[in-house]
Symmetry: none
DNA sequence: CACAGGGTTAAAGCAGGGTTAAAGGCTTTT
DNA sequence: AAAAGCCTTTAACCCTGCTTTAACCCTGTG
């Protein structure tokens, strides 16, 4: 498990990363927001621990940028502030946790473990339906023997559909879950992706990505009708 | 969505539960751990908000008891303490979040929403009458073993009728509730839908969608007449 | 028996999606 | 620093299926 820590206080950052790496994580330490962004792109960590107050780019701005790249990755914010608006801001971005300084590194470790257990243990990155399966980690779709390489968004959308197979998913729910927000244009964008997924799925006749007009979509196993 | 709040400070508990119920949750408020346990068994809430310091049974003990009953249910702990060992204890039990008093109810609401979105994404609303049931989420009607796929409007209308079964509903009330407005033409449109619903419901002789001339409609269970 | 409220069916109208191509952003490569 | 490459979003145009409108019929009530 890779952890990205962004913390501008050098001493504190070192202590923290020692602590975390002793516990078996692979740690990347960055000294400011810009550096952290570079590390993120290179390392593709599993979780980010971000200081809110940093030079170059603050923790919130960084989090938003990272969130755009990966809507699933969990964040923990570190801050000296207990100001209400800061906490609210963090939670709105989708912080998974919020730790106010000063704190004990052990507290952070427990939270890290809790979150990772939740996010990665329960989420198997293999999904299957009929004679089709998605390996989310490798972004690969195997459909009736036909292998397809997917892009990240394609895979995220398909994963959400497969994780909720046979359930009608409302347009706004899909958008909020996969894109993080919901507006008209993103909706049309989603339609484009749906269209592309249908193409990928054509080799498997046992699977149908059905439109529920005015509501949303379902990915369902097609009963052999007539 | 049901929320169980366990809080021994009566005033604070009331404020909190008002806040939460305004946001559309169904709230049960308990004044101590024992009472909360009873409420838990009765209500089977979807999430628990527990004060740590309570008479009879503290929040941690309660959480452990509840966790035994349901390994998935999420917790949020409320506490005045910022003591390290308390936070650790909570996190070890598997707290999903931890809020220290004093705090803004809005913060709590955001955390509630975050957690619930994560844990439960689909609300299954089911309505039934006689040997017929409507799954509104799936837009499916099961009528005496006959399955029908409904359109959104059909389902909305039928849901309103089923949610108010055996009650006479006035035309203008139905229109305002289902269509959002009430004029002559929409009224005729509704008649078309009523006609179609009657067709769907014919397989179940125990159900009648009756017209109250000059007033509206009732969906009622038909007593074996004669 | 008259007529208004509602039943039923078919046609019309329209909005929500389907599909494809081009534009726009980011990163990586040269 | 420009160019190339890859993905996502925007745009345009089309089509389909749902809702509404319309037309005609039936029936209960004064």
């Amino acid at each position: 498990m890779k952890v990205l820590i962004a913390e501008d206080d050098i001493d504190f950052g070192n202590i923290l990363s020692q602590y975390v790496s002793i516990s078996g994580f692979q740690v990347t330490l960055a000294r400011n927001g810009k550096e952290a962004w570079g590390s993120y792109i290179r390392e593709k960590p599993d979780i980010c621990v971000l200081d809110v107050m940093m030079p170059e780019m603050d923790g919130f701005a960084l989090a938003e940028k990272i969130r755009q790249n990966d809507p699933e990755i969990p964040f923990i914010f570190l801050t000296a502030k207990t100001l209400k608006e800061d906490i609210l801001k963090g939670l709105k971005i989708g912080a998974d946790d919020y730790v106010t300084k000063p704190f004990d590194p052990e507290v952070l470790m427990l939270r890290l473990n809790n979150i990772l257990k939740r996010v990665y243990d329960s989420t198997n990155d293999e999904y299957s339906l009929s004679s089709t399966s998605l390996n989310f980690n490798r972004l690969e779709l195997l459909c009736r023997g036909k292998k397809e390489k997917l892009t990240l968004k394609e895979a995220q959308l398909l994963r959400y559909l497969m994780a909720n197979k046979n359930k009608i998913l409302r347009r706004d729910a899909i958008l909020n879950e996969v894109w993080g927000e919901d507006d008209y244009f993103l909706g049309r964008s989603m339609d484009v992706f749906i269209s592309r997924l249908r193409k990928y799925l054509t080799p498997d006749p046992g699977i149908e990505l059905r439109t529920i007009r005015g509501t949303g979509f379902v990915l369902e196993e097609r009963k052999a009708e007539r």
